[in-house]
């Protein structure tokens, strides 16, 4: 479904992503893990067009931001496609730090997520589905999203991403900054999303939980993929565990 080959991203001559290749098959839940600053978010941003967008609004010379390699989504090359068109193809990015539209209500945020849908009925159906998945959002639907708790904001961010009928959902560090109970709640919801038939690429640092629920995993460090495989296999590797996963 998603196939990344030899992707390289440079910011100001610093190579942030160094020739990585990665694939996500339809129906899978795949994780991309690694320490802070490994380049996980940058990888997602490259996939969903934000690096391209950043390049287009960048003030300095055009080689300050470089993106090389190919990204293929459902058989189409998208590495030069603008972000909003990538979203329209069903590749949805739920960004780091949740990024709710803070001055809008929960409901308006969800409607913004459904921006690409034409049919009113479809929007209603998705809204019902999201409220069913996150009953908390329904209770808070008229609250201004900037005043939600961190966990609620994360639910909102995921709910908003679900509103547009994603085929592949990329979620960036949903558990960061949340209390342990909230974390497991978020992970349970992500499992549910997978069971709903949505393919998920999950960026996380919380390796111990994530490895129990994923189909496959990639470990990223300093812009390179240093390991790949099923959770239990990766955990057998002593060096990997100690040095890169912090377990």
């Amino acid at each position: 479904m998603l196939e990344i080959s030899n992707l390289t991203v440079c910011y100001d001559k610093a190579m942030i992503i160094n020739d990585i290749s990665l694939r996500v098959n339809e129906g899978e839940l795949v994780s991309l893990v690694g320490p802070n600053g490994a380049g996980k978010s940058t990888t997602l941003r490259a996939i969903t067009g934000l690096v391209t967008w950043q390049k287009s609004i960048h003030r300095g010379s055009s080689d300050d931001i470089k993106l090389q390699g190919t990204v293929e989504f459902m058989g189409k090359r998208i590495e030069r496609t603008p972000a909003h068109q990538i979203a329209a193809m069903g590749l949805i990015h739920c960004p780091e730090r949740r990024r709710p539209f803070r001055e809008m209500s929960v409901l308006e945020n969800l409607k913004a997520g459904a921006y690409l849908l034409k049919s009113k009925k479809e929007i209603e159906d998705n809204l019902r589905q999201v409220y069913e998945l996150f009953p908390r959002l329904k209770e808070r639907s008229h609250q201004v999203s900037g005043t939600l708790s961190g966990g609620e904001q994360q639910m909102l961010a995921i709910g908003r991403a679900l509103m547009s009928n994603p085929k592949l959902l990329c979620i960036d560090e949903p558990s960061t900054g949340l209390a342990p109970i909230m974390r497991s709640e978020v992970f349970r919801k992500i499992k549910r999303i997978k069971e709903m038939g949505i393919t998920v690429l999950l960026v996380e640092q919380e390796v111990s939980t994530v490895f129990t629920m994923t189909d496959r995993n990639y470990v990223l460090s300093s812009g390179k993929i240093i390991a790949e495989g099923k959770g239990e296999e990766l955990l057998k590797d002593e060096v990997l565990r100690k040095t890169y996963l912090g377990l």
Binding site: I92, H93, F101, E103, M104, A112, G113, Y115, S164
Partner: protein, 289 residues
């Protein structure tokens, strides 16, 4: 006297509100500081003068023609002149100053520097105590509220309105929701400049038209935006009436106050910047890396 002050502050306040809201909109969505905003307001006024006296349009069609023309002009200018330099704030600032002066000079060439007026839509006035309220003033004030009400409906209830608000809060995330950020910015420009045109059209029967008429509203509009908080439409609304009132007080109560009009705005602007730099309702933009 008290009544005159009230009328003047309401009329001026509502003009500033219309201008400042358009200005805030374009800044919020496209991060463009459009110094030429009030110059478009001037162009609308001249447009009405021209179509009324040279082409014989009736007042309503003159107004509509002016609004459409100004919105169109704004769109063309944006496409060829602003869009290529949009991300370079300083260039946009200098560019729009140049644009405002160019429009001023064009009007000066086309219409000379003479003071012009257009007739009121409805003549006559009501006498309330010692004060006169012209029907045109009531009409203008009413229209402002209708326009601002429609604007609010548009922003809150339509899909484009939603995209505009989303983009104003966080361009990057708006992009991720499938909103074409550059198209939304363009629509915001057209609406914003169109609103400047509407302001010109509504206010023109109450003012004199001359090529420098954009200067004072520009200063007031900037002060409004600083007081209300950059990017906040609600803030612009309240700040406009506060400043309109302060200005009217000075003009009516201080000897030779009319000469101090600009100073009022600038003083308030400086005080606000010193005490509360984010303004009354400052919006914090999501930082974008």
């Amino acid at each position: 006297m008290a009544f005159d002050i009230l009328i003047t502050s309401l009329i001026n306040g509502s003009t500033y509100a219309m201008l400042a809201i358009g200005f805030s909109l374009i800044f919020g969505v496209a991060r463009i500081v459009n110094i030429a905003h009030t110059a478009f307001y001037m162009v609308a006024a001249y447009c009405i003068y021209f179509t009324t006296y040279r082409l014989g349009f009736n007042p309503i069609s003159a107004m509509l023609a002016a609004i459409v023309f100004v919105a169109f002009l704004g769109w063309i200018v944006y496409l060829i002149f602003i869009r290529p330099i949009r991300e370079h704030e300083q260039a946009v600032l200098i560019g729009t100053i140049a644009l405002a002066i160019a429009l001023q000079e064009l009007m000066l060439i086309a219409f000379t520097g003479d003071y012009r007026t257009v007739p009121a839509l409805i003549k006559g006035f009501a006498q309330i105590g010692h004060a006169k309220v012209f029907y045109q003033q009531i009409l203008t004030f009413g229209s402002v509220f209708v326009v601002l009400g429609l604007m609010r409906l548009f922003l809150m209830k339509t899909k484009l309105g939603l995209a505009i608000r989303a983009t104003a809060q966080d361009r990057e995330t708006a992009n991720l929701m499938g909103m074409d950020e550059s198209r939304v910015a363009m629509m915001a420009v057209i609406i914003s400049v169109g609103l400047a045109g509407v302001t010109g059209a509504i206010i023109v029967p109450l003012t004199t038209i001359e090529p420098f008429m954009w200067n004072h509203p520009l200063i007031m509009m900037m002060a409004v935006v600083v007081l209300g908080g950059m990017g906040s439409i609600k803030g612009s609304f309240y700040a406009s009436f506060i400043l309109g009132f302060a200005e009217a007080l000075v003009v009516f109560l201080v000897p030779a106050g009319a000469f101090l009009k600009g100073a009022v705005a600038l003083s308030i602007m400086i005080i606000v910047l010193l005490i509360r730099p984010a303004g009354l309702f400052g919006v914090q933009f999501e930082e974008e890396r």
